[in-house]
């Protein structure tokens, strides 16, 4: 009896856990449904009212694969041969011949490039130091240097891609490294292929731009704030040319304000201090200026979109001086209070210097105080400009920008002549490494080629979802009916377990943050079949035992015990193939293998433990389950 109780408790715990993990998905589904029924202003109001909850649900819901929601998948490969060519010095005809040979040899088979490359030189008894490193370096040292260089190139390519995808504003992008030199980029919902190709391929643009004087940038922010409250016209302190279309201005202003705050504008009746502030400073409510007066604004992660939209509006753009541009930090930053903020940097529109003058960058640690630093070297002409720029801007901040994303904005401490700079003030070695990657992206592009590109239109995705769920539903209903007809109440118990089984599979997937794909749905359909098999095995066995004249309870108990080995061995072998599939399959097949494996484990539990518990409870209550 105690054993029985433990089983019940475990079952209930699993059910609660599964529902807990699926809850965001259910909520997300409900929000979408509500939203699709509303139109125009109502839908905006609804979205505003539930903004945070919806975002939360969206983040935690079960992810759908590209085949179900449409989008693009691109596999990029870093062109290592190009890289080897780029970093070599003293390139001569012999070198070019070898490069050509390596290219043709590695194109047809999967041999790794660097060993092939190095062996070529060995075969011709040419020392690698002729082209790489310094004269004293031996071949093995240069080989390891080249290998290091190539793995860094892949990191660099990933960083460039990630940065651009973030700037482009795709929701839930996935960027992964696969193997040594491949990058898988998945962009849900993106349709424009040409735009994405450009996004992923062009060389990264690295710039150094001075930050705008904090006093001026604060005034600009203030004027935006005042514009939104409608006080700007009477205010003469801001040196901004006001639009000529004054008549339309209030309407536009109201639009802009709605853009920012949505329809949740604070009612006039609310006289609390916060409400007062929200009414008087709608801009500063979302954009918090730096308290030390260094010029940047802090925007909570969830508010970024609305501020971006606001800043894009032409009437707001007019308030921003022509030589100033607001650029976002490339990464969201976490502060002490665990809050995540984006930083908005006011920078000058023209760059002081572009990244092609950088010859090297290296993350390192300051031997004196153990803090992370980055050393940066520039070419001689770059160094000349750099000396002039730093000399003229001591005490000011220079922003390091890649593809419009600000990565760092260090203060110029002194005039730097000679081209060797040291950037300090990094919080962690990881931050220093990121900056190294970014700085190098300007100097050494990481050449990438597309080796696979797939795009699925959203309508095909919707059709697939509908088809997948229809087939699951029909299969489920037919099986449920069959089981009851064939096994009577024992069949009903099995159906009950089947329901739990699907709940568990989805719950486990949600808790892993796994992605549901079309092959994944096929895996669930198959699991339903396997679950039925387990129940059939048990029920057939119980029938056999009853024929031998056992009591019902004894027949059920022996039936479960005897059927167990067959069920277990069958599930283990299927599970083994699942593992193999997961190891060798492409991402689609992996989705199938994952749901299959989860399903098999859930099966063992629901078909053996849950059904047995239910039957025991039925018998304790004096009800005798029938096996048909």
């Amino acid at each position: 009896m105690r054993n029985q109780l433990t089983r019940i408790i475990i079952t209930v715990c699993f059910v609660i856990l599964a529902i807990y993990f699926l809850w965001p998905t259910i909520r997300d589904y409900n929000y979408r449904k509500q939203l699709s029924q509303l139109t125009g202003q109502d839908s905006i109001a609804y979205a505003e009212k539930h903004h945070d909850d919806m975002l939360d649900a969206k983040m935690k819901r079960m992810k759908l694969g590209l085949d179900l929601q449409g989008g693009m998948r691109v596999v990029l490969e870093v062109d290592l041969i190009q890289l080897l060519e780029d970093v070599a010095k003293n390139k001569d005809d012999k070198f070019r011949t070898i490069i050509k040979e390596v290219r043709s040899e590695t194109a047809s088979n999967e041999s790794s490039i660097i060993p092939t490359f190095v062996n070529k030189f060995k075969a011709d008894t040419i020392r690698l130091s002729r082209y790489y490193g310094s004269m004293r370096d031996d071949d093995s040292k240069i080989t390891s240097m080249l290998e290091d260089e190539s793995s860094k190139a892949v990191d660099r390519a990933i960083e460039i891609v990630r940065n651009r995808v973030d700037q482009y504003g795709v929701s839930e992008p996935s960027i992964q490294k696969q193997g040594g030199r491949r990058i898988i980029v998945e962009l849900p919902g993106v349709k424009d292929e040409n735009e994405v190709s450009q996004l992923l391929h062009g060389t990264a643009l690295l710039e150094f731009r001075m930050m705008k004087d904090p006093q001026i940038s604060y005034k600009v922010m203030e004027s935006i704030d005042k514009y939104l409250t409608g006080k700007l016209e009477t205010d003469t302190t801001a040196e901004i040319a006001i639009s000529t279309e004054k008549k339309k201005e209030p309407a536009k202003r109201k639009d802009a304000l709605t853009e920012l705050t949505g329809n949740t504008a604070v009612p006039e009746s609310d006289t609390s201090k916060e409400a007062q502030f929200a009414r008087e400073h709608p801009f500063f409510l979302y954009v918090k200026p730096d308290q030390h007066g260094s010029g940047e604004g802090y925007i909570a992660e969830k508010d970024k979109d609305r501020v971006v939209r606001l800043l894009e509006r032409p009437e707001v753009q007019r308030l921003i001086p022509t030589d100033l541009e607001f650029l976002w930090s490339a990464r969201v930053q976490t502060f002490k209070d665990e809050q995540k903020y984006y930083l908005l940097y006011p920078v000058k529109k023209t760059p002081e210097l572009t990244g092609n003058v950088i010859t090297n960058a290296q993350a390192s640690v300051d031997p004196e105080d153990n803090r992370s630093i980055v050393n940066m070297e520039m070419s001689s002409e770059g160094a000349r400009d750099w000396a002039r720029i730093t000399g003229a801007n001591i005490g000011k901040r220079v922003a390091i920008i890649m593809d419009k994303g600000v990565f760092s904005a260090p203060v110029v401490q002194a005039k730097i002549s000679g081209g060797r700079s040291r950037i300090t003030g990094m919080d962690s070695p990881a931050e220093a490494r990121l900056l190294e990657i970014v700085l190098k992206a300007g100097a050494l592009p990481a050449p990438v080629t597309t080796i696979e590109q797939r795009s699925i239109g959203p309508s095909l995705g919707e059709d697939s979802i509908r088809a997948g769920f229809t087939s699951i539903l029909i299969a489920f209903i037919l099986i449920v009916i069959f089981m009851v007809v064939y096994y009577h109440s024992a069949g009903a118990v099995a159906d009950f377990a089947l329901f739990f089984n699907i709940l568990f599979i989805l719950g486990v997937m949600a808790s892993f943050g796994a992605t549901l794909t079309l092959p994944g749905i096929a895996g669930i359909v198959l699991t339903i079949g396997m679950a039925v098999d387990a129940n059939v095995l048990v029920n057939e066995r119980v029938r056999e035992e009853m024929v031998t004249g056992k009591t019902l309870r004894a027949a059920i108990d022996t039936g479960y015990i005897r059927a167990f080995t067959a069920i277990f061995d069958g599930h283990v072998t299927s599970f083994l193939t699942g593992i193999v599939l997961y190891q060798f399959g492409s991402s689609g097949v992996q989705g199938f293998a994952l749901t299959l494996m989860i399903g098999l484990v859930a099966n063992l539990f629901s078909a053996i433990v849950i059904t047995h518990v239910i039957m025991n409870i039925m018998m304790d209550k004096g009800y005798h389950p029938k096996f048909g």
């Binding site: 085949d67 596999v75 490969e77 194109a107 999967e110 040409n194 190709s197 391929h201 597309t450 696979e452 590109q453 797939r454 795009s455 239109g457 309508s459 059709d463 697939s464 088809a467 997948g468 229809t470 087939s471 029909i474 299969a475 037919l478 099986i479 069959f482 007809v485 064939y486 079309l518 092959p519 749905i521 096929a522 198959l526 339903i528 079949g529 396997m530 039925v532 098999d533 059939v536 057939e540 056999e544 067959a566 061995d569 069958g570 283990v572 072998t573 083994l576 193939t577 699942g578 593992i579 193999v580 599939l581 190891q583 060798f584 399959g585 492409s586 689609g588 097949v589 199938f592 048909g628």
Partner: protein
């Protein structure tokens, strides 16, 4: 409800007849694979594949004429599910998605006024296809190896061997069947895609599960009826598990038929392959796996008798 009364069928006695049937099936399959060949999907072939929806419908011949103008006349063009939807595939390679753009532009120019939508576009580089083929083959071999070891350990080595051979039989006949059926049913594309490979691995799983259930019963009966000959033991076990075998295979088959009809074009190849695989998988558990174990054991015993 009961579909089967206690049966007493002599399965094992008729095995030599079924050996011949199996051999013929495998041979026909092999002949078809050699002469008709197997068509690989875009994943294994490399190139560009597009699924394009037209409105109103267009004639495939006209599409070919249009594509011929841009030098892609040799592309494979066939209907995909619906009549209005076409699959266009070429093994032509070019940097990025230039081929796809070329096809799209050619279609918009060639069918002015037609509402043309790209439902899917896949571009696979030349090396990927080869890699995927290798990986698929490796997956099948590893799965076979894992099953051989697991069943060899849980039962006896010869049972593991029997299970592996029966899976081999299933994979071969199914492959052959796909080769024969490809192109025979209009609208049903039976190319070797990632999904079909998944179907093969699943069918391995299901077939071995079926074999394991029977072996499990033989193992159990062996302990109880010590004096019974292996052939009788097998017949007894097969009869005892028969109703389970039919019901389970039947339900899975049913699920697959539903997937075939309602599961959408993408799942169709998977469902079709699996549905055939279930039939051969169920059959081979009896007439390949069990029969092999029986004849292998008899052969061993005879050898022992001769040497003794």
């Amino acid at each position: 409800m009961r579909l089967f009364k206690k049966t007493n069928i002599d399965f094992i006695g008729k095995r030599f007849f079924w050996y011949i049937v199996s051999t013929i099936m495998v041979l026909i399959g092999l002949v078809s694979i050699i002469f008709r060949g197997i068509s690989y999907g875009i994943d294994f072939q490399g190139g560009t594949e597009m699924i394009v929806a037209f409105s109103p419908n267009v004639d495939i011949g006209n599409v070919r004429i249009v594509l011929d103008k841009v030098g892609l006349g040799k592309s494979e063009i066939k209907s995909y599910g619906k009549e209005s939807t076409l699959l266009i595939r070429t093994s032509e390679q070019a940097e990025g998605t230039t081929i796809g753009t070329k096809i799209r532009n050619a279609l918009t120019d060639g069918f002015p006024g037609n509402n043309i939508q790209t439902l899917r576009e896949d571009k696979i580089g030349p090396r990927i296809g080869k890699e995927l083929r290798t990986n698929a083959l490796l997956a099948v071999l590893w799965a076979l190896g894992a099953i051989l070891v697991y069943i060899g350990l849980r039962f006896k080595f010869r049972y593991g061997l029997g299970a592996t051979i029966s899976i081999f039989h299933d994979v071969l006949t199914t492959f052959g069947f796909l080769s024969i059926m490809n192109g025979l049913i209009p609208g049903l594309n039976l190319e070797i895609t990632q999904e079909v490979i998944a179907a093969f691995l699943t069918l391995i799983g299901v077939s071995v599960n079926d074999t394991v259930v029977i072996f499990d019963r033989i193992r159990e009966n062996e302990k109880v009826h010590r004096s019974m000959s292996l052939g009788d033991l097998m017949n007894k076990s097969l009869n005892e598990t028969l109703s389970r075998t039919i019901i389970t295979s039947g339900t899975i088959f049913l699920v697959l038929v539903i997937l075939l009809i309602f599961g959408g074009e993408v799942n169709r190849g998977f469902a079709f392959t699996m549905a055939f695989g279930i039939v051969t998988g169920t059959y081979s558990s009896i007439y390949v796996a069990s029969a092999f174990v029986l004849d292998w054991t008899r052969y061993q015993n005879r050898k022992k008798a001769v040497t003794a």
